[in-house]
């Protein structure tokens, strides 16, 4: 068996805030191989972004505190790296794209400068990414132009001289994708890359992402709220609830046979023509208090199938089919009612 690209185990994270220390990640498990696009879904506040940020160690400690974490990138323990070594991986092995293209570009620097800077930073660790040129800077410029072309920015020569506010939202998101991919990363973490964009631009960006994955053989974590996006774009999906991955597996399996009661409720909440609009269907109550979380399955208080055993200990991920795992003692076995 080959070493997975990214392997997260036992990720427990606490965040300090005014009210106290919240146990926000409660043993996240995630495993990503090259060529796979993992959708990471779940309600707002369930810890998707924090999982992404934990991988490249971007959370300041404090307020963050890791209770335990095993994160490996092709077998290399990321938690054991020095800050320098970690910085060498960012942009180079791990690329990140964030949600809001209006706030994630430096407003006072030209697009070209920003791309060239990232290219130069990546080239310090791997000069082979630069095409042959008279100087490193010229090489970085050529690479930046090439990348802008690849992500579909028209007239890149002229656009390099523009500032971010002169770009549309979709174009800015393309710039961010170009910046994330310019260092030829192996793993791409995209935190809601299309949420701030309108539907047609969203579709273009997702198509672009898929093309980039196919071309560069990346592993991707795509954080999103939108199950439609997952169904269209991802090969796999991991469902999070209150700091836990409660179900994961190939997209088809999970969507056709969701085994966790929470996944089921999440799917039922997708508004289709036959279902009335509203909140999560058949789900009473709210996300548990993470400062003093209940022991056991965090979904138990809202779950109709919960038993004493559920409240006693967090159920581990168990196999539910090929590659399909669920963290539930009483998984649902019937097919999903729709989709």
């Amino acid at each position: 068996m080959t070493v997975p690209l990214l392997d997260i185990r036992n990720l427990h994270l606490a965040m300090r805030s005014f009210e106290g220390e919240a146990h926000v990640l409660n043993g996240v498990e995630l495993c990503v191989n090259r060529g796979e696009i993992w959708g990471l879904v779940g309600e707002s506040g369930c810890g998707k972004s924090l999982t992404g940020l934990s991988i490249s160690r971007l959370l300041p400690e404090p307020p963050a505190r890791y209770i335990s974490a095993e994160i490996t990138l092709e077998g290399r323990d990321l938690r054991a790296l020095s800050p320098r070594e970690m910085q060498a991986l960012r942009g180079k092995r791990i690329g990140m794209i964030f949600q809001d293209p209006t706030t994630n570009l430096n407003p006072t620097a030209r697009i070209g400068t920003q791309l060239v800077d990232v290219a130069l930073a990546a080239a310090r660790h791997d000069p082979t990414i630069l095409p042959p040129a008279r100087s490193r800077r010229a090489g970085a410029r050529a690479l930046a132009l090439d990348m802008m072309r690849q992500v579909g920015i028209p007239d890149p020569e002229a656009r390099m001289m523009s500032y971010p506010h002169e770009f549309s939202g979709g174009m800015r998101q393309r710039v961010l994708i170009a910046m994330a991919l310019i260092g030829r990363p192996d793993l791409l973490i995209a935190d809601e890359p299309t949420t701030a964009l309108d539907v047609s631009v969203q579709a273009q960006i997702l198509t672009l992402l898929k093309a980039m994955v196919a071309e560069h053989d990346l592993g991707v974590i795509l954080i999103t709220h939108n199950l439609g996006v997952v169904a269209q774009t991802c090969s796999h999906v991991a469902v999070m609830y209150a700091g836990n991955v409660v179900e994961r597996g190939p997209v088809r399996q999970v969507i056709e046979r969701p085994a966790h009661p929470y996944t089921r409720a999440l799917m039922a909440a997708i508004p289709t023509r036959d279902t009335p609009r509203g909140g999560l269907q058949g789900l009473e109550g709210t996300v548990p208090d993470l400062i003093q979380p209940p022991p056991g399955c965090r979904f138990a208080p809202r779950c109709t199938r919960a038993t004493e055993a559920c409240r006693a200990a967090v159920p581990p991920l168990t196999s539910q089919g090929p590659g399909h795992e669920v963290a539930c003692l009483h998984p649902v076995t019937e097919d999903a009612p729709h989709v």
């Binding site: 942009g91 994630n104 570009l105 430096n106 990546a122």
Partner: protein
């Protein structure tokens, strides 16, 4: 951009009209007897009347104002009652000293305030930060003339490191004026001894003048740096693996400076006004000292002239700052 500059220069007209009107009104409303002071205690009534007639002071105010403005248009700032010299010539003679002092103070305030603000933001909530915050509050709330006196006491009287006052000792010949700034002229003509002496004389008044804006710029820079460090694009820059020094200069400092620049613009005007006190304390032969002496003898033409020059400089300084702001912050491109 040209229209932007022209529009801003047009703004000068109301500023100048306002200044002259206000200054004329004050000159008239002030109780006192400028003619009597200028003519001296032994002058006869006829002599005083002659003096008043010579300077047009027997005319109605609106007529005096009209004559003055008519002169201004041709660059004539009227004549000093006391010295009988044209005010324009005096202004030209005193302006370089004031500008040298103000620019030196500005250089100190910006050159130290910006890096200190950046550093204290990076050291936020550790003791060097707390210490500098306390010192900054002290510096802002201390009156300038008092600070000047303290500096004189400490560095000139006790330690004897720096000259007490003045721009150059009488025994030193100033270099031939090229720019009018003694330091720059001395450097241009290669008179290094003079340069050294001039710099030593400049240091204390510039420090006294700059400390409060320095502290304000530092605090402003600190808070905008902290704000910028929380911005998404800084996180993105880190996530993309940019080296620390690049994040600090290109991402953090640049954006924080653009927010701080507006304060710097305001302070230039504040410094120009502040020179009056500091020049008096340090006997610095600039516009401030000139105006003070004129006020004491109720000689209003020089005072009006100084107010006009400072008003002009203020408008120009703000124009320059706005242009610089546009350079740093591409979103503000003069519309």
């Amino acid at each position: 951009m040209i229209t932007f500059i022209l529009r801003r220069l047009l703004m000068l007209v109301p500023v100048l009209v306002g200044l002259t009107v206000i200054m004329f009104a004050i000159a008239r409303l002030l109780p006192g007897d400028p003619v009597g002071l200028a003519a001296g205690p032994n002058a006869t009534a006829a002599e005083r009347a002659a003096l008043a007639a010579e300077f047009g002071l027997d005319r109605p105010v609106w007529e005096q104002y009209g004559t003055y403005v008519a002169g201004l248009v041709q660059g004539d700032f009227a004549t000093s009652l006391l010295t009988r010299r044209p005010v324009a010539a005096d202004l030209a003679a005193y302006l370089p000293a004031t500008l040298e002092l103000v620019l030196a103070a500005m250089l100190l305030a910006v050159g130290l305030g910006i890096p200190l603000g950046l550093l204290t933001a990076l050291w936020r909530n550790r003791w060097p930060d707390y210490l500098s915050q306390v010192l900054a509050i002290g510096a802002i709330s201390m009156p300038r003339f008092f600070l000047g006196l303290l500096l004189q006491l400490c560095f000139a009287m006790w330690l004897n490191w720096l000259p007490l006052a003045g721009r150059l000792p009488i025994i030193v010949f100033p270099p031939d004026p090229i720019t009018g700034f003694i330091t720059i002229d001395a450097a241009l003509t290669g008179q290094w001894d003079v340069l050294r002496t001039a710099l030593l004389h400049l240091l204390m008044p510039a420090l006294a003048l700059s400390l409060s804006p320095l502290a304000t710029i530092m605090r402003m820079m600190r808070s905008s740096t902290i704000e910028v460090m929380g911005q998404d694009y800084v996180m993105t820059a880190r996530a993309l693996g940019l080296p620390r020094h690049l994040i600090l200069t290109r991402t953090i400092a640049r954006n924080a400076v653009s927010a701080t620049l507006t304060v710097i613009g305001l302070y230039f005007g504040w410094l120009l006004g502040g020179t009056v006190l500091v020049e008096t304390v340090f006997d610095w032969p600039g516009l401030g000292l000139y105006a003070t002496k004129a006020i004491l003898s109720q000689d209003m033409m020089p005072v009006i002239g100084v107010a006009l020059v400072i008003g002009l400089l203020f408008v120009f300084a703000n124009l320059l700052i706005d242009l610089a702001y546009g350079l740093i912050n591409p979103k503000v491109r003069y519309s």
